[in-house]
């Protein structure tokens, strides 16, 4: 039987008009902007805050991701950050008083080549040292954990094993955003939709506010959380970022009786799939190679994704694609985010989450709020500074996952 989703609360947020001035303005009401506002209020008592959103709240990548949450990243710096997020996910439904369907059903990352096996083992061992739960499963264990995966040795790229993070899983994306928005609003944060930032107010080298489609608003600090549009905003401030915006697509099937108990990811064959609570299969497709701001991608990505899905899950043959869509992901050269101050005083940056920032939402908000409130990075985001592209101290996650959902 399919599940009706839990009811949303009777009250979510106000629709205020912008004030003339705020202590902090956050640009972008995606998950990261909202989490930042929430933690600014909760952890730092800063509530004279506006989150400005050009469209509808959480209508960017937050509305379009495949909701995979895990912390089993390769680099220690990444694992620490994402693990902080995972620990927050574990307490947030209660703290936010919102059942956003966080489901720790485990995530399998399949290995199909000897090199995949090496990389998987490397990640499992690194994760365990970092305090992240991780196991290595052989093909039989994979089948036991997720019986619909085709573990036959006869396929083109047989499953040789998988890493499993048992505490990983999924959550319902919009509910997460709304839960954060609701609490932020309760703390007094103004969530202002239909308000596009079109420029920055400057006094000398300092940013003192923003220009918007609804007039200028001054601010003590301005914090960007605009995901795919980060470069466009940075450009308005005269800053060039090591970020490129690419289309990334996802799709859902119709509602189906439960068949898929966990989350399966395969970089090699290219499948990312879970079955959401209502019963739809949720899958991510590939990133288009070229830049794009169109929230749509090239269809061959979907076709390839389907071929790959059937290679691994023959039972999906007669499932149907109900809807496809695209988002705009902000990709950095090392596939890791950038969080921290910028060379421009009072302007802060949080971007570059690429294909995998949903899972980081709470931690991203936590450390970003810390950075904005104190002017100094939190130890967890210190390594993710913009300077690393000058020093060369990249946090390269390519080895771990071509696409890091």
């Amino acid at each position: 039987m399919s599940h009706q989703l839990p009811e949303h609360p009777d009250w979510l947020w106000r629709t205020p008009d912008p004030k003339r001035s705020y202590d902090v303005i956050i640009v972008g009401a995606g998950g990261h902007g909202l989490a930042t506002a929430y933690y600014l209020a909760r952890n730092h008592g800063i509530t004279n805050v506006a989150v400005l959103e050009r469209g509808w709240l959480a209508g960017g990548n937050m509305a379009r991701n495949t909701t995979i949450i895990r912390s089993n990243y390769l680099c220690e710096e990444s694992a620490a950050l994402y693990e902080h997020a995972l620990k927050l996910w574990e307490v947030l439904p209660q703290e936010l008083e919102y059942d956003f369907l966080f489901s720790q059903r485990g995530v399998l990352n399949l290995a199909h080549t000897l090199q995949d096996v090496r990389e998987g083992t490397r990640r499992v061992n690194a994760n365990r040292l970092g305090g992240v739960d991780a196991e290595w499963l052989d093909a039989d264990q994979v089948r036991a954990f997720c019986p619909i995966v085709n573990t036959s040795p006869d396929v083109r790229y047989p499953v040789l094993g998988a890493t499993l993070q048992p505490r990983a899983g999924i959550a319902k994306h919009d509910h997460v955003a709304w839960a954060l928005a609701r609490k932020a609003d309760q703390y007094g944060v103004d969530l202002i939709q239909g308000c596009e930032v079109t420029g920055f107010l400057r006094e000398g080298d300092r940013v003192v506010g923003v220009r918007t489609s609804r007039g200028p608003i001054s601010a003590g600090r301005v914090a960007l959380a605009a995901a795919g549009h980060s470069s466009v905003l940075a450009d308005l401030a005269g800053l060039r970022l090591p970020v490129q915006s690419h289309p990334l697509q996802a799709l859902v099937s119709e509602l189906l009786e439960p068949v898929h108990p966990t989350v399966v990811m395969s970089n090699h064959v290219h499948v990312y799939v879970s079955q959401a609570h209502k019963g739809e299969l949720v899958m991510g497709a590939g990133v288009d190679s070229y830049n794009g701001y169109g929230q749509r991608g090239s269809f061959h990505q979907i076709e390839h994704q389907m071929a790959a899905a059937l290679e691994l899950f023959p039972i999906f043959a007669r499932a149907h694609v109900l809807r496809t869509w695209g988002g705009i992901v902000d990709v950095t050269p090392d596939a890791s985010p950038i969080i921290g101050p910028t060379p421009i005083e009072n302007l802060y940056l949080n971007c570059g989450w690429g294909t995998g920032g949903f899972k980081a939402t709470p931690a991203s908000g936590w450390v970003y709020a810390h950075t904005i409130a104190t002017g100094e990075p939190h130890p967890l985001n210190a390594p993710f500074a913009l300077e690393r592209f000058t020093t060369g101290a990249l946090i390269d996650e390519h080895g771990a996952a071509a696409v890091a959902h």
Partner: protein, 956 residues
Amino acid sequence: MTQSHRLPDGGRVDRSAPLRFTFDGVAYTGLRGDTLASALLANGVLHVAPSLYRRRPRGIATAGAEEPNALVQVDGPCSEPMLLATTIELYEGLSAAGLAGLGRLDPTPDQAVHDKMHIHTDVLVVGAGPAGLAAALAAGRCGARVVLVDDQPELGGSLLAGRESIDGRPALDWVAEARTELAAQVDTRILTRSTAIGYHDHNYLLVAERRTDHLGPQPVPGISRQRLWHIRARRVVLATGAHERPMVFAGNDLPGVMSAAAVRAYLNRYAVLPGRRPVVLTTNDHAYATALDLVAAGAQVAALVDTRPEPPADLVNSARGAGIEVHTGSAVVGTRGHDRVSAVRIAELDADDVISGPVREVACDLLAVSGGWSPAVHLWSQSQGTTRYDDDLAAFVPAQAAQNVVSVGAALGVLDLAGCLGGGFAAGVEAADLAGFPSTAPSVPPTSVDRPPARPRPVWLVPGETGDPSEWSDHFVDLQRDATVADVQRAIRAGMRSVEHIKRYTTIGTAHDQGKASGVSATGVIARLLGARSPGEVGTTTYRGPYVPVSFALLAGRERGALFDPVRTTAIHPWHVEHGAVFENVGQWKRPWYYPRPGESTAAAVERECRAAREGVAVMDASTLGKIDVIGPDAGEFLNRVYTNAFAKLAVNSARYGVMCRADGMVLDDGVTLRLAADHYIMTTTTGNAAGVLDWLEEWLQTEWPELRVRFTSVTEQWATVAVVGPRSREVIAALAPDLDVSNDAFPFMTARETRLASGVAARICRISFSGELAFEINVAGWYGLATWESVIRAGGPLGITPYGTETMHVLRAEKGYPIIGQDTDGTVTPQDLGMEWVVSQRKPFIGKRSFRRADTARGDRRQLVGVLPADPAVLLPEGAQLVADAEASVPTRALGHVTSSYRSAALGRTFALALVAGGRERLGETVYAPLPDGVIAATITDPVLYDPKGTRRDG
């Protein structure tokens, strides 16, 4: 079973072809030409399945792809969930069951074939109703290549459901003639049963054709079940018609509440009378035809309710003339009935849509509803065209085009037949013209005499008789999601303002039908509850593909099983298969991993192969290495720039190992390059990187150094390469190549010789060693690869020559501390990290050089490649094990590095590993620990070269 509701005559069903079928286990009979839905209705079956969440009875509500209720699971060799009874063509033996909005996947393997086609056209017309047919005819007459697609089995579109006339004759006669004319046009292709599902950038459309579904579930030999057409069109004409909207009133979900246009289709196309005592509810002219057709079919139309206070007099008169009671300025405000509507409640509405008069109850068994028409702008919107709200039509209509496309007919909001025909024809002529086929003799478009309909009066939200919207929980807005006006109101009260938020709060529009017919009604309800001036202020949610759901199998096409991804094999592959090789996937290549003897374990086989290479002679197929001819007077200079070390002064017939870095200084690839002549080198790349390296070279040459005179030719498959390795390899080569002086002096290490083998085959033999042993590589034209391999095996037979695979190759090179790019490196490793300062020229510039001076890249404590010897020489460190300095350190702790390669070595008589360790070269002799799930392994850091560090063996 009798077909109790089948009309005695008429319709496009074949009365001579009765078909038996079962639904929910009950047997029925229908006719060829029926859909499952029309056949069920013919048998008096209306109810399909309960609703998903509230388990309310639900019936067939439409006659097409916009159906929200009639979802079924169809049995077959592999049963298929979530198909629509309204679009399934009936076939003999069909067996299906109703679904409550939730499908079931069948674990039986799906044997059906799905395939794809790629075609181009000048003009693509989507929809073969009057507008589309006229467009296709016109474009075809101009000589353009035309593709006409329609999702129905026959052409005609809504004409199939009506009784219109064209040029003074029955419209379907005109359709038949049009079909004949189109079929005779050489360059026109008609695809029926074909739904355009996607409209992508650069006029790229996808069309899903159902080729055999109407024949039954069994695969038809040779014919794919469904086909996905990829169509690139110069111009597109969208003639996709319009969807009739439902209306939102209390109890609007009862079975028996049906689209008025669907009722008309059931009457005229399928010869089925869906109800004997219907009521018709409309906001516009169109449903009058339904009412009259119902009367003509013998139904007793109990009432016609028109929301408009003053509908066109001629329509009202004709209805009254047919004995129908017409209620103007009124609406149905409620229904009665349990499993089926048994009565409707009718009341007058004032100008603000408030109930303004007494409520009257009228008994009925069917309520035909026309809430207005929404142009099917789905594909238009997918093409990024904009829409605008048209107040006169009460509909969103196409506005600004984003590609080479026009909409015509009802899809544009043109609702009269004459307008559809004329507009379609003109669009066809124009599309052909713009595609380069001007019309020479403009023919006269077909004509019809009807007039554009009068203004509709949409009532987006029919009020309940009591309470306020927050209580209207049986006013359904989205039937499949069981979402009601009360839900919308709750969302708005919670603070939601955007239609996108309300969609997500209520899940309206997210079900199987994607709100095809109900989406605009939902917008109307939202507008009303928000107090917006018009639905245009609220807008619609985003239209996304596919237009109708399509199976994963169709999109996967033939890229399944053996055809999923190319398999690349070498010329010698058949021998490997015959000799029991176990293969490893390396990129798309199949490479022998090892060659177990019967009963032999992997470890034993590898140990045996290694021993042969170290003590006797062994042979490996190295053909997969990428090979690139680099030719031209500036070839040496070019190589100097892309490799970290120098090549310009390499002697002819000599070879050199080189490393390439990306601009960021990280190792990209490595390999041996041989100079064949002053201006001719042949470069080898790693197996997986061959194509990437060629691209890399072309990029630098073309975009940065076009002045360099050098050319690249990929010759990977031109050459088969056989590596003959081991102290006795010289004997084998001597036997094979009698003309060659194989002595050390005459043929030193890292040189090459051209010769003719005893077999007569021309060969280039190089002395290259990736194992530290004396070794030769024989290169022959690919088509001699197998024979040459066989002759090596024969020549080496007396010496016990042993074929070996990639695993042994890895052990041998690791014993020598040679890294494998991609295994011992991961894109974050510099040549210096690998201990290869010697390969990094200090004198010349090369790609990546500048990066070595960056703060982080110049650090001394970077992870460096070292050897690692487990304390217990029998214990094998797993590849990927992390290394720490302190065995007792509590988690979380930082690793020093990790094991990249690890093997059992026969030559060393122990296990050993390579690892990347922070400041590793400063730590030689230190003990490190690998904490693993089942214990800690202690090991000592050593120099990475463990075998023959002095290099005494390479000359044999």
